[in-house]
């Protein structure tokens, strides 16, 4: 009887409706759960680029405590991390290494550009060894301005990244 129900003509519609049912019943809650897991455990790569690393270190300190959002600087390898916080100026010597680090991370991965130097070159825009912004090297999700940004600003940037991840489709990477 099932064979009579599903004819080649209405197979598309049937599958489409099945897809809708699956999406509403499983995809949305599953996606919500997956995103919830990703948001509250963003692990940044342990790469210190330039002077903004001091304020990133201060953000991990007991007063500003970014660890309560799940952002712990993993001491292991970067194959377990999913966030790159580019802290400060990227020089021409560092740019290929940054690209290498970004390529070695598994999907899904996110990038926060911290500080004016990472966004547009900042104070050193006309130096001979500084890239004017890291947009040409890796794709950026959140820009955090400041020179250096206060730790609270960095935490606000992380929260913005969390909201962005909530809106993303989770199933593509599963």
């Amino acid at each position: 009887m099932l064979k009579d129900l599903i004819t080649p003509e209405n197979a598309n519609v049937f599958v489409g409706k099945l897809g809708d049912i699956l999406e509403k019943a499983i995809d949305k809650p599953l996606g919500y759960a997956i995103n919830w897991g990703r948001i509250w455990s963003l692990w940044p790569v342990h790469i210190e680029t330039a002077c903004c690393s001091v304020e990133f270190g201060a953000a991990s300190s007991p007063r500003y405590d970014v660890e309560r959002f799940g952002i712990i600087e993993a001491f292991g390898s970067l194959r377990q991390c999913d966030l790159v916080v580019v802290q400060g100026t990227i020089t021409r010597k560092m740019a290929p290494r940054l690209r290498l680090v970004y390529d070695q991370m598994p999907e899904p991965k996110y990038v926060i550009a911290m500080g004016a130097c990472a966004i547009t070159g900042g104070l050193y825009f006309d130096s001979y060894n500084v890239l004017p912004g890291i947009d040409g090297v890796i794709p950026v999700d959140v820009y955090v301005p400041g020179c250096p940004p206060r730790p609270e600003t960095l935490i606000q940037g992380c929260i913005l990244l969390q909201e962005k991840i909530k809106r993303m489709k989770a199933r593509k990477f599963v």
Binding site: D126, S127, Y128
Partner: protein, 199 residues
């Protein structure tokens, strides 16, 4: 408060009157002969009496004595400074580019840790070498003898001057890039004809 005359730099020199209180200064204070600080004068005298006119004393100020030497004598002068005068390490080596004189000047700041009478003094030793229009670092005439066998502390400083100005140090075991990226193929950056604007 308006900015006043220089009073902090020449504290030790005698014979300088206090700034005149009357509105028209009849005689400017700089015209009187300024007496040089004694201890520093003693240091520069030791060098001039050994080397004569191969060295030139540029200035003798409080805690700073500057000696200008030609590039062929700088090795001997540095050896004398280390052996006879108890200076034992180099604090910094800087290069200055003078395109109008067509020369690059290399300045060594030499200090002493072991001799307590010299703990404030910094001896400034300056040499010059000629400069070329199209430099090929390492293979043109911009050369200087290295002071690494006399003062070991200049090792990384001379490497940096090699990459920033193109001055080749003969005798240095390792004339290599230090701070610039590995694929730098441009002019040495700290020269005056390397302009960062418009790049």
């Amino acid at each position: 408060m308006m900015s006043t005359e220089t009073a902090s730099a020449e504290v030790k020199s005698e014979g300088k009157p206090t700034p005149a209180k009357k509105p028209t200064p009849a005689k400017k204070p700089e015209e009187k002969p300024i007496e040089l600080p004694e201890f520093e004068k003693g240091l520069s005298d030791k060098i001039t009496e050994k080397f004569g006119d191969k060295v030139e004393v540029a200035f003798v100020k409080e805690d700073r004595v500057r000696i200008n030497v030609g590039s062929e004598n700088v090795h001997d002068v540095a050896e004398f400074i280390r052996d006879e005068m108890n200076f034992d390490h180099v604090e910094s080596v800087s290069g200055v580019d003078f395109p109008q004189d067509k020369e690059i000047e290399v300045v060594y700041h030499i200090g002493s840790y072991s001799d307590s009478s010299l703990s404030r003094q910094v001896l400034v030793l300056a040499t010059r070498t000629q400069r070329e229009e199209n430099p090929i670092p390492g293979k043109d005439a911009t050369k200087l003898p290295t002071l690494r066998d006399i003062f070991y502390s200049v090792e990384f400083h001379e490497r940096e001057i090699f990459e920033m100005f193109g001055v080749f140090f003969e005798g240095h075991p390792d004339n290599r890039r230090l701070l610039l990226p590995e694929d730098w193929a441009d002019l040495p950056p700290l020269r005056k004809d390397f302009d960062t604007r418009g790049r």
